[in-house]
């Protein structure tokens, strides 16, 4: 965990988030402060410590693999930005 070398524009692209130049500069500065703050974690001796993913003592919960009632197409599409023929209309993916 060396000094934070955060490339905000590259990370924003990974996150599918378009940022203005002004936003890039602001987040660069603010998040560098936050990353410097979390550097403190490096000091902690975690040898032999297992990671905690969540605090629930429940693992591998199964149910019967049977179909259950779900939304009708009309319900599923109720919030769609665009729809046609009981389908979501999306932008062209393949040129």
């Amino acid at each position: 965990m060396s000094a934070p070398d955060l490339d905000v524009r590259y990370i924003a692209r990974l996150a599918r988030l378009e940022l203005s130049d002004e936003e890039v500069a602001r987040y660069q500065s603010q998040l560098s402060n936050v990353l410097t703050f979390v550097e403190a974690l490096r000091k902690v001796d975690v040898s032999g410590v297992e990671p905690t993913a969540h605090a629930s003592p429940v693992f591998n919960v199964f149910r019967q693999d049977v179909a259950q009632a779900s939304f009708t197409p009309k319900e599923a599409l109720a919030n769609a930005p665009r729809q046609a023929n009981d389908l979501f209309v999306v932008t062209k993916v393949v040129e």
Binding site: L17, L31, L41, P51, S56, T91
Partner: protein
């Protein structure tokens, strides 16, 4: 009948009067509607209400049910079928929830009426409700100050007596901190106690739903109704749900309360510290034994949180892509442009900041150094609590290091805002339960600002936690005071 005092009743007293036929559920909704109309414009706790539906629900209400005829206001992150669920974000403008969250379905089955949407920090990211895309909520005790957050609307509505009770969510303190700043009771149940099905996920390993109320007894009633196993949320535990309200005996003689020395640090407001220390003395008089304990990894909790929570958020918020619901950018060219613009237009500054941080700590080359390291330190934080609860029944400490701060005071400095949650965050990382209840007032600029006492208990020991909180509340009168 005279309904002048109706908004000030507890849920418990409201139900007594409903069952005695001293008033009708319809009168309750009508009175509450008038109260909201008169008071909420100065507070802005509500984003919307559906009072016509609430009146229909009231006319059909069965007051013999556990919460029969009780209107309950809901944070804008929990799905109520047919009502907006926008997370105070532009990206969900116009979105209407197609189904009830499990906690809502259980409230309805118990006769409660979910009727209004409460303001919050966008996607529950914040500690002041200033990150709402719909404008800030103001603190009913001093409208130049924040109500806390992220469940600021939930806390402010109960404090302003525009709700009898409300629901919020707590990922790093978002129930307890606003409850403290607004002078009401806020309960964060243990991780796995209440289903999150129908809650819009922020950080899935931390999020919990919980109630805001005027009293501990009311919180116990709502908790009992909402708790338990849900096949739709595999983190819920199949543990018995006690009758929490019936266990509030007022007797806490012989119980041990731990004073975590790491929670009494420099930087804590002197009036807050004095009030919490006075509460500790009060517990001694009630027969509790006070023991100093240590949670040695407390200082790392905020850092762990802002890695774990943002990592999970960056994954959870990937679903907002403009395809199936929510905002969709116009005039885009190609798929990446479509996603990039949709999300740029839909999300506010704090949400973007956290998505970037979370994406970074999960990205190739940084995952082990940040995310995995944080998960390991999280294990040590959990162990601190497990060790402490070997010797004490609950921990006692401040909820927030300061009373309500001014609007705009921390908006330019994200790190300063993150540190507002310094006393609440560890409980989420450990999965334990916690409650904030009023324990005094700070005099600041001629105004009385509420101070919150935080009690933390072992996982799934809400019964004892509430018993301890109730014993304090019933022998003090802080909870009876309300903003003018």
């Amino acid at each position: 009948m005279d309904t002048a005092d109706l908004p000030f009743l507890t849920v418990t007293e409201l139900q007594r009067r409903l069952r005695a036929r001293e008033l009708t559920p319809r009168e309750v909704v009508d009175t509450l509607a008038a109260r909201i109309e008169a008071v909420d414009p100065a507070i802005h706790a509500y984003l919307s209400t559906d009072l016509d539906q609430a009146r229909r629900d009231a006319d059909a209400a069965d007051v013999s049910l556990p919460l029969g005829g009780v209107p309950i206001a809901i944070k804008d992150v929990i799905s109520v079928a047919g009502q907006p669920c926008g997370c105070a974000s532009h990206i969900l403008d116009g979105y209407v929830a197609p189904y009830d969250a499990t906690c809502i379905a259980r409230l309805r089955a118990a006769g409660a009426i979910p009727f209004g949407r409460l303001n919050m920090d966008e996607f529950a990211m914040g500690s002041s409700t200033e990150n709402s895309s719909k404008g800030a909520t103001l603190n009913p005790w001093d409208t130049t100050r924040v109500p806390g957050g992220s469940s600021g609307g939930s806390a402010a509505s109960v404090a302003a007596r525009t709700a009898f009770a409300s629901l919020g969510t707590d990922t790093g303190g978002s129930i307890r901190q606003p409850a403290a700043l607004c002078g009401v009771v806020g309960l964060k149940p243990s991780y796995g106690r209440i289903s999150r099905y129908g809650l819009v996920a922020f950080a899935s390993s931390l999020d919990q739903v919980g109630p805001f109320t005027k009293t501990v007894e009311d919180a116990a009633r709502l908790l009992g109704v909402m708790s338990g196993l849900d096949p739709h949320d595999s983190t819920t535990l199949d543990a018995p749900v006690p009758d929490y309200a019936a266990l509030l005996t007022g007797d806490i003689k012989g119980l041990k309360l731990g004073l975590p020395k790491e929670y009494f640090i420099s930087g804590i407001d002197p009036q807050v510290e004095a009030a919490v220390r006075a509460a500790v003395d009060h517990y001694t008089k009630l027969g509790a034994e006070i023991v100093e304990v240590s949670l040695p990894h407390t200082e790392y909790a905020v850092a762990v949180y802002y890695i774990v929570a943002t990592a999970e958020a960056s994954a959870n918020l990937a679903r907002f892509d403009g395809v199936r619901y929510g905002h969709r950018a116009r005039d885009t060219s190609g798929l990446l442009d479509f996603y990039g613009k949709t999300r740029a237009e839909g999300f506010g500054p704090e949400v973007k900041r956290r998505i970037i941080l979370g994406t970074y700590v999960l990205s190739s080359g940084y995952h082990d150094a940040y995310y995995l390291q944080a998960q390991k330190v999280r294990t040590l934080i959990r162990k601190d609590f497990e060790d402490a609860f070997q010797t004490v029944d609950a921990l006692i400490c401040p909820t927030s290091p300061v009373p309500a701060f001014k609007l705009g005071e921390h908006t330019q400095n994200p790190l300063a805002m993150y540190l507002q949650d310094i006393f609440t965050i560890a409980a989420n990382l450990a999965g334990v339960c916690g409650v904030s209840l009023p324990c005094g007032f700070a005099q600041v600029d001629g105004k009385d600002l509420p101070i919150g006492l935080q009690l933390l208990g072992p996982s799934f020991d809400e019964a004892r936690l509430l018993q301890i909180a109730h014993a304090y509340e019933q022998t003090t009168d802080w909870h009876t005071r309300r903003p003018s």
